[in-house]
Symmetry: C2
Subunit: 169 residues, 2 copies
Amino acid sequence: VVETRDGTIAVASAFPGHQEAVQDRDHKFLSKAVEEAYKGVDCGHGGPFGAVVVRNDEVIVGCHNMVLNNTDPTAHAEVTAIREACKKLGKIELSDCEMYASCEPCPMCFGAVHLSRIKVHPLPYHSSSGTIWFIESLINNLVECCNAEAGVRSQGGSCYCHWIRRLHC
Amino acid sequence: VVETRDGTIAVASAFPGHQEAVQDRDHKFLSKAVEEAYKGVDCGHGGPFGAVVVRNDEVIVGCHNMVLNNTDPTAHAEVTAIREACKKLGKIELSDCEMYASCEPCPMCFGAVHLSRIKVHPLPYHSSSGTIWFIESLINNLVECCNAEAGVRSQGGSCYCHWIRRLHC
C-alpha cells in the first residue's frame, strides 16, 4: 500500500511486472477479438466486430457479427459470444467469465452483458460510447480509423477500412 | 383539425369510432402477447413475457421468453420475436412491422427494437421503465400485480402470479 502525493492511498502491484503482465493478457485477448472481426468481414457474415469469452485464461468462444449471415439484427458479436458461451457451458450466467470485444458494445449488447453478468473489456474506441447507438459508434470508429494509434487499437480501426474496402469491391 | 381551449391544434379522428377501433386493435394484439406469456410459463420455457410481431394487421410471429429452454440469457420474448420475424420475412429490418409486448422491454430489448426499426407497443406497467433494468422491472411488475387494474393490464399482472405459483409448485 502506497500513499500518493495527493494523500490518496494506492495498492501497489502484487509483484514487479504485474501491470505489464495484465497488459500483455489484455492485449492477447483483445487481439483475438480483433482477429474475429477480420474473420467476420472476410466471410461476409456482417459488420466488422469480434468478441471472445474467456474463463480462467482460456478462450471459451470467439465470435463475430453474424447479422447478415443469420438474417438477425440481434446477432452482434457480443450477443453471439454470450449465446455460444452459455450453450457451451450449459448455464445462463457468466459471472466467472470475461468478454474482450473489438469495439465498445452498443446498448443492446450492454444489456446482454448485464443480463449474463459477464465482465467486459472493450477495445476503447470512444470514451462516451456507452450511451451512443451502433451507427454513431460506427461513424466514430471510422473517424478514429483515419487517426488510428499504433498497436491493437489501430488493428480494430484497420478492420473497418478492410470492411469498407470489401463493401466497395 | 380542431383548436382546443388552450390554443393548441389537435387532429380529429379520421371517422367516428376511430379511437375505439385503434383501442380494440391494440387490445387484441396485447392480449395475444399476454397469451404468449402464459404459454411460456406453462411450458417452463422462461420468465412470464410474451411478444407478437404484426404486419398489416396480421400476426407474423408470437413468441415468449425462451431463456431457460434455450440456455440463452438474451432469449427474451422481444428479442426472440425479432429474430423469428426476421427469419420468416427474410430481412434484417422490420420498419413495416409493429411489436406488441406483454411488458415494457428491458434495455437489451429496447436496443434490439431500435436496431430492427420495429415500432413497439408495450403493455405499460411502469411509466419510467425505459431506463430501468430487467430485475427492477420484474419487482415493479410483481408489486403492480397485487394492485392490478381490470382488463388486459391485469392479465399481464396475473401472468406473474401464475409464474410465481408455478415456481413454488
